[in-house]
């Protein structure tokens, strides 16, 4: 059972239901562990970033992404 890797460099605007319910301890949320939690970008309020790209863990830990802002 591989856990989605909890990158330390996640973008400050990445939000998910797991974070709304478990805060910084979101990795403990079973839904997060089973990758059934939904992600939104706090800049756009949608599941697409300011660059209209997808919002999820791997994509929003990519420091080279144009709209990425370190925590």
């Amino acid at each position: 059972m591989e856990l989605p890797q909890v990158g330390s460099t996640r973008c400050v605007h990445l939000q998910s239901k797991a974070m709304a319910v478990y805060g910084e301890g979101f990795a403990a949320d079973p839904d997060f562990q089973n990758d059934v939690t939904d992600f939104t970008c706090l800049k756009t309020g949608r599941a697409l970033g300011p660059d209209n790209g997808p919002v999820n863990f791997p994509q929003c830990c990519n420091t080279q992404r144009q709209c990425y802002e370190e925590y």
Binding site: M1, V12, H13, Q15, K17, M19, A20, V21, Y22, G23, E24, G25, F26, A28, D29, P30, D31, Q33, N34, D35, V36, T37, D38, T40, L42, K43, T44, G45, R46, A47, L48, P50, N52, G53, P54, V55, N56, T63, Q64, R65, Q66, C67, Y68, E69, E70
Partner: protein
Amino acid sequence: MAEGWPKKRRLLGTKIRRIDGPDKSTGRAKYSYDINRPGMLYGAILRCPHAHAKITRLDTAAAKKVPGFKALAIVLPPKDWVVVKADETGKTLELKSVPSKKQADKAEKRTVTVGPGVTILRGNKPVTLADLKADDVVQVEVEQDVIGRELFYAGDEILAVAADTEEHAKDALRAIQIEYQVLEHVVDPAEVLAKPGLRTTPLPNLSPGKEFTKGDPAAGFKAAEAVVEASYGVGVISHQCLETHGLVAEWDADGGLTVWASTQATVATAAALAGRFGVPPGKVKCITHYMGGGFGSKFGPDVQGFLAADLARRTGKAVKIMLDREEEVIAAGNRPSAYGKVKIGGKKDGTITAYVIDCYGTPGYTGGNTVNLNFLPYVYQDAIENFTRLHTVAFTNAGGARAMRAPGHPQNCILTEFAIDDLAAKLEIDPVIIRRKNLPPNNPKANKIEWAGRRNDIYNEQIDIALKLSGWKEKWHPPGKGKSGVIKHGIGMALHTWGGNAAGGTTPNECFVFIAKDGSVTAESSTQDLGTAQRTVTAIVVAEILGLEPTDIIVKIGESTFGFSTGSGGSTTCPTQAPAALLAAQQARNDLFRKVAPKVGADPKDLAIEVGKVVDTKTKKEWSWKEFCAKLGMDEAQGKGEWNLAISNEPGNENISSGQVGGVQTAEVLVDTETGLIRLQHIVAVQDCGLVVNKLACESQVAGGVIMGINYALFEENIIDKTTGRQVNADMEFYKLGGLKDMPKITVHMQDMPERGVIGIGEPPTISTAAAIGNAVFNALGVRVPILPLTPKRVLDALAKGGL
């Protein structure tokens, strides 16, 4: 060691009327949808009508002339810039990007010609060129920046307008001239599997499958006395919250923002708005006193919340944006579909020797897995030696999935429990034998109070209760072999499990209790009541500790400024807020004793609470509650309770709150084999739960979960047309939901296990209902109707194929 729950309980576990029942049942309760502010404007959102397209032209001039039009905001967030030069005569604005080490340091420059399609904002207020000077930090919105933007589903948000009335907002929206380049779309996940190279969504449509194997399934199938191969599935459904998503946003004179939002997370919503508009969190307030259902889809302001607040800062007026029904269905989240080919092998003694599943589903244009990947073959996985699970996510041009009541679990349950009943039929045994044989074993290392240490016993006990209450022994018959006639009778069963632990990360949930000298008690928490009766839970807990009645407690919840709280998800609210209220009430009581004892010549540790009074256990003196509190004088007794997952996991706290429950449900149906109509007769829901706080509302949660499961089994699904890529039933007419007379008798049996502390049960009861009903229909017909919902068409088509 914490004092914990009182051993002798007066209110806890009894049936108590909701304290907000009267306001709700007489329509006096004010929801976000009902808020009318002075001079309030109405917003409406322009959405792409195509399933996949790019914007090629936008002209908003006509819209801005529509009577009542006030403001327009496009969905792309205005970018922060530093003013280099503001040239009033030339009508141009020279900008450079805000220097920040955080972004991959790409300095940008831009020169904007200021005109009708350009809006400049500074400190959340619209400004003109004349107001600007060098080095000002501003946000600049250029409407034409939308040109070329790719839109991924029919309903994707583009911009919003605000007007004096809702009618004028719709008129302005329709006056907007916009053109699209229509692109290829796909809405059927099966089509995505057939075309691997497809790219019509932000990520490639077909995402790589995830596989996991335990043991040796091939060997398992060899050892099996019977093997069944079949396909099952269930389509995408919408949350259909009756109060749609949305909020009213209003800025105050000094740049603070208040929103009345329909949300499951007041604190997270306020924090998101603070981040988006660069306002200190302390100056943003989210109010959610009453909320018309969320079911997992409302955890933040969403784009409509940002647009309302954006339009409000541009107009200086309050702005209300509440989605209409069609928007709610297509754009506000859904439970993703799950279709699977299952191969299951087993023996006459019930052992499942092997289970292999290859399943896929669509979460719309974005989202994660569509089944709960680490929980297949669901409840039974720890007992089954050999299984393989392969799951593939197929993105389609439809609205994105969001968590929905027990995310993934109902799908898991269907893809497991259907296979068990089909295997039992081939082995010619009662499916209960297979269920009992493969129940998860007790974990010898875990203590006996907790779920892990006693789950096998709990499930067996629940199966016994369900068999008795449903009359299974008399009613079950081999599939299709019930009494003859056009109307066939059947009975089916399914099991589920769910977390329900306390929530919260490093910042615990808070509850505050204040006792005033007039004896009045106020309990405050920023948590929200989605219909789960959380307001009444807090009142009951505080009243129990202070010897009062729930209606005596002034409960103030649903305002983000009442301390920290986490969102209501994962069935974590009650197991978090009830302990917080318990500790707050106990602390306030002790504070009261400490402050008043010297004035009445008593020792605080001798004082105790009885119903309506305080007694000195040593001197046997007693005071009425009001009389005792009056001694507070200028003082106020205070208590603060903190609780979260970490605290609940500390040894000894499992009596206060814990997690993980099981649950067994049976369903009894009559099926008219001529018309394909299914009439539910009886559903039994046996649900373990820790300490029950309010038995009345607890049973409501279970019955409510069952009813949502009934809709999932029989009535609801999103139907999207392949050609247009548009949903044909984004309404409540052809998106069918059961009414009162569609419901069977529902017998709820709560297993009260107070020693486990409070456990959340909002989500588990909805998990196994659909699977139990599907198995009951199979038992009635002897033919499997494999795809839910079980519409008359699917029943008749299955009968025609099944040769019955």
